[in-house]
């Protein structure tokens, strides 16, 4: 049984100029211990589809799906309070801006212990011990001292480690990382990706990485889904995607990587492709 299963997910937003379809018929599956990368340019609906799956979109969004189950439970018919018991515990999410996603008014220790307070029955002492243990596991030096620090006292990389520790607090079955390294330097990016992969292997979690960076995909994913303007263009395992991309769009995207041309001009095929051509070339 797969951990998260989505079939034909559609998200519409009501705008002044009529409904806008941000996600159009996306289907995916993540198994335990699997790393899935969702890759696409901005506006491809990759974040929105995950937010919809977690029920984090505002009421203006209309979410419909044929199937939307987590661990065999239907997420659509679930009450809000039931959903809140799962989110943050069994499904956790890491966001793009590490500094912005922590509350500046509270210490990082308070914020990580808050998750444990809500989702577990641990005593105050046990919560603190668990927080220290988590900080150690994500490689934050002097965890006892660091727990008392505020987000602004830490660097971007350290904040992202705190976010990862918070997400892992309740041993989630599924971790969704939305552009986890976009705001970070390459050297820090490497550390964070290595850390995510190490923790994923240790806990046997399912991991969904949302990214626009083909490099991150190549370094982490088992399977890849390519999205464009809310629609799924291609779904393949990582090796075959890079070795022999099937859809025109993926081919164009990969050929636009600066690595593939030293000097001269880069092929900009996506500029000439129309949406209809891209959608027609979709390989599910």
């Amino acid at each position: 049984m797969s951990l998260l299963e989505i079939k034909n997910l559609t998200v519409e937003f009501q705008t002044a100029s009529g409904p806008f379809r941000a996600v159009d018929g996306v289907s995916l599956k993540v198994d335990e211990g699997e790393v899935l990368a969702i890759v696409g340019e901005s506006g491809s609906g990759k974040s929105v589809s995950m937010l919809a799956a977690m029920g984090l979109l505002p009421w203006t969004a209309k979410v419909t799906a044929d199937v939307l189950t987590f661990n065999g439970r239907d997420m659509q018919s679930m009450s809000d309070s039931d959903r809140r018991k799962i989110i943050g515990k069994d499904i956790a999410m890491i966001f793009q801006e590490p500094i912005a996603s922590l509350n500046p008014c509270f210490t990082v220790g308070f914020q990580i212990e808050e998750v444990l307070r809500i989702h577990t029955d641990l005593s105050r002492k046990a919560r603190r011990d668990r927080a220290i243990e988590l900080f150690q596991s994500v490689g934050i030096p002097n965890p006892e001292e660091r727990l008392g620090h505020f987000p602004h006292q830490m660097s971007g990389g350290q904040c992202q480690r705190v976010m990862i520790a918070t997400a892992l607090a309740c041993n989630p079955k599924l971790l969704i990382a939305d552009e986890p390294t976009t705001a970070l330097d390459v050297t820090i990016q490497k550390q964070i990706l290595d850390l995510l992969m190490k923790l994923q292997a240790e806990h046997g979690m399912g991991l969904i990485i949302i990214t626009h960076d083909m490099g991150v995909v190549a370094e982490t994913a088992d399977r890849v889904i390519v999205q464009y303007k809310g629609r799924q263009i291609e779904s393949a395992d990582v090796l075959s995607l890079f070795e022999s991309p099937k859809s025109v769009y993926t081919k164009a995207l990969l050929s636009a990587l600066p690595e593939n041309a030293v000097g001269g001009r880069l092929p900009t095929i996506t500029e000439k492709l129309t949406d209809t051509e891209i959608f027609a070339g979709a390989v599910r």
Partner: protein, 276 residues
């Protein structure tokens, strides 16, 4: 031939004033950097955030004065700390910033944005300013109808084209590009990089290209300088730096850059299987 830009032992300090109980501090943002760029060539400056690459860009564009050292543009010495900046000097060096959403005034039309450098620095009459702006719009791959529109009506890639057009209005010799493509999507990034290459060929422009993305640097640069904590730890031609990095920081940087070739992916999957 005299290089377009030559820097000898450039330094820049920032003084942080102290308070009642706190003594003042001096931050050495750039600690003595030397380089030169010939006409029509691209020098890439690489480094992580806080290493002083943007400070260097500010000195080269004559926004910030130099604390110590010497900077020559077209063989002429520049020092804005001791003598005021002339409009002639201003038009020699122009800059394109990282975020095209922040660098264009949202209350001005594209036409006004493009003609503003001419209004400030030259005595070109209004109708000629308009003609030049129209011509420049076409040059960067936009259309004449975009002249009267506002920045919010454009996508990120188009805005970066406008920013590049504005920088080129004064026919500069040197263009400083401060992370010009890092806010853009992959396919748009390719378009902007191609545009920069086309413009360089056409006007024999000289670029100082600041980036943290090594794959972009490898694609566009002739020379590469790697900065680390305000110092240039590596400086040489592209092939020299990429094939035989000397400094340990450069090696770390290369090792950290994700690789997209099939062999690297295959090796990673093998590793993962072995662990599992």
């Amino acid at each position: 031939m005299t290089p377009v830009l030559e820097a000898k032992n450039l330094k820049r300090d920032y003084h942080i004033p102290g308070g009642l109980f706190k003594p003042g501090k001096t931050v050495h943002a750039v600690k003595g950097v030397s380089f030169k760029v010939e006409q029509g060539k691209t020098l890439a400056i690489v480094g992580e955030s806080g290493c002083g690459k943007s400070t260097l860009a500010r000195m080269v564009t004559m926004i910030d004065p130099i604390t110590e050292g010497e900077m020559l543009i077209d063989g002429g010495k520049v020092d804005i700390a001791s003598e005021p900046l002339t409009s002639e000097m201003r038009s020699k060096v122009q800059i394109v910033f990282q975020n095209p959403y922040g660098s264009l005034n949202p209350r001005k039309k594209i036409g006004d944005i493009l003609t503003e450098p001419l209004v400030i620095n030259t005595k070109v009459p209004a109708d000629e300013r308009r003609d030049r702006a129209m011509a420049m719009l076409k040059k960067v791959g936009l259309e004449e109808k975009h002249y009267g529109r506002y920045p919010h009506m454009f996508s990120g890639g188009q805005r970066q084209r406008v920013a590049i057009a504005r920088a080129l209005m004064l026919n500069p010799r040197l263009l400083v590009l401060d992370e010009p493509v890092s806010a853009l999507d992959l396919s748009v990034q390719a378009q902007v990089l191609n545009l920069l290459a086309d413009l360089q060929d056409e006007f024999q422009l000289t670029y100082v290209f600041i980036s943290h993305d090594l794959s972009v640097v490898r694609h566009i640069a002739n020379d590469v300088m790697v900065m680390y904590f305000g110092e240039a730890v590596e400086y040489g031609s592209r092939d020299q730096v990429f094939e035989d990095p000397q400094h340990s920081y450069t090696k770390t940087l290369f090792a950290a850059t994700p690789r997209v070739d099939v062999d690297a992916i295959r090796a990673r999957i093998e590793r993962r299987k072995r662990v599992a």
